[in-house]
Symmetry: C2
Subunit: 237 residues, 2 copies
Amino acid sequence: MEFERLYAPSLKDLFVQQLQGMILSGDLPLGTKLPPERELCQQMHVSRAVVNSGIAELARQGFLEVLPRQGAYVTDYRRNGNMDTLMAIMHYNGGVLGREEIRSILEVRWGLEQMTVSRAIDFASDEDLERLGQYVRALGSNPCPSPPQAAELAFQFHHELTLAGGNSILPLIYLSFKVPCTALWIRFCRKFGVHALHDNVQELYRHLLNRDKEGASRWAQKYLTEAISGSQQIYEA
Amino acid sequence: MEFERLYAPSLKDLFVQQLQGMILSGDLPLGTKLPPERELCQQMHVSRAVVNSGIAELARQGFLEVLPRQGAYVTDYRRNGNMDTLMAIMHYNGGVLGREEIRSILEVRWGLEQMTVSRAIDFASDEDLERLGQYVRALGSNPCPSPPQAAELAFQFHHELTLAGGNSILPLIYLSFKVPCTALWIRFCRKFGVHALHDNVQELYRHLLNRDKEGASRWAQKYLTEAISGSQQIYEA
DNA sequence: GCTCCTTTCTGGTCATACCAGAGTTTTTCT
DNA sequence: AGAAAAACTCTGGTATGACCAGAAAGGAGC
């Protein structure tokens, strides 16, 4: 049995989590004006710096909109959110994603994967492929890596793949995506074993080596479809 | 002639910009260890909070990696970057994107647009379409909106489109993308006129109304291809 | 030569003080 | 009495200094 190390949350973290909870639970409905920072920090017995930086973070995450010298308002995070919002929601749910979110993520990955694979086959150098191979081998090494390690390796593989394609935006998107993606891979490994992930990646890698765009694309589509609605669904833990 | 309002940058902003410049110009090569915060703030005559929060922001942007109680190191922002990095680079270049970045953005948009359009046609309600129509009409209204306004409307249209599709991740990605996307639309309008953007959006909207997936997809592909390598390239101002 | 403890240095965090702009009230002039 | 201008108050933005805990390095003891 493994135990994760504990991190003592800072006052700012606590503040942010508390307000996230209140917003996500509907306790603070959309459009609500927050009390002034000074009032908040008196009620919560913290300094204004904590409240101020916490509100700034919540604004970055799309939960609040702050109008300088007027006040902070709860906004529609579903409409104004970004990747940080998604991670905050994940964190709020204890790292677990809902069925709809999982489907959405896999769909987006399907779209991005097509582009990634296509470009990588056109533009990846031999060194790029060699570097990719290292990740595949690490994924299949003995002793078998733990699910989190395997997920990290799978992510590295895909990230490297986006870099090899020569599109400078794709890696940035992929990296913004890291946390939810990795969470799904971990889940996948827990359910079907690390070897299943290794098999998927290895097969994709084989198509890359053969510069077989059609085959790689079809394979990517296959394993993502399986995960969405086929025999390798990852909705339940 | 219009003049933009001026914002006095804060000390933190200045600090961040200065270090971004030093990193992007290669003055601080990859792997460099930054001096301790106390030393930095002495040399730059600011308080340590400025330096500390500035470094935190640079770390968020993927320019630095900070190991608590060890130091801050310059990292490969091309490898560790995210959307914020892109925006920082844009800002550093005076809001101008390089040819490669533009191509990359349009390519990614092409991939996302396919998915967005496909899902929107399948799942958008009549109210969704009506709301979308408002943006189209606003874009073609008289007097003609300014390029920044038009770009904002085009973005709203596309954002609404992602929301209508029911995929909960797509809007988040799109929103993370807002700044560079809008910059490109502004550029497009400056070069080919707001009406050209309006025509593109309107034609797409027509296909949506007809629930014509094939036609919409082809049209999206057409105008993005034109912008990448056809008659409506937007590389030069 | 090794281990353990102490010191030093690092970034993380927080409480306080001051600043500037938005909104409101009061004053003043017509 | 009505309108314009000034003053005030409230708000978030920012900068400062101080304290805290963990990492690294150096020295004492075995």
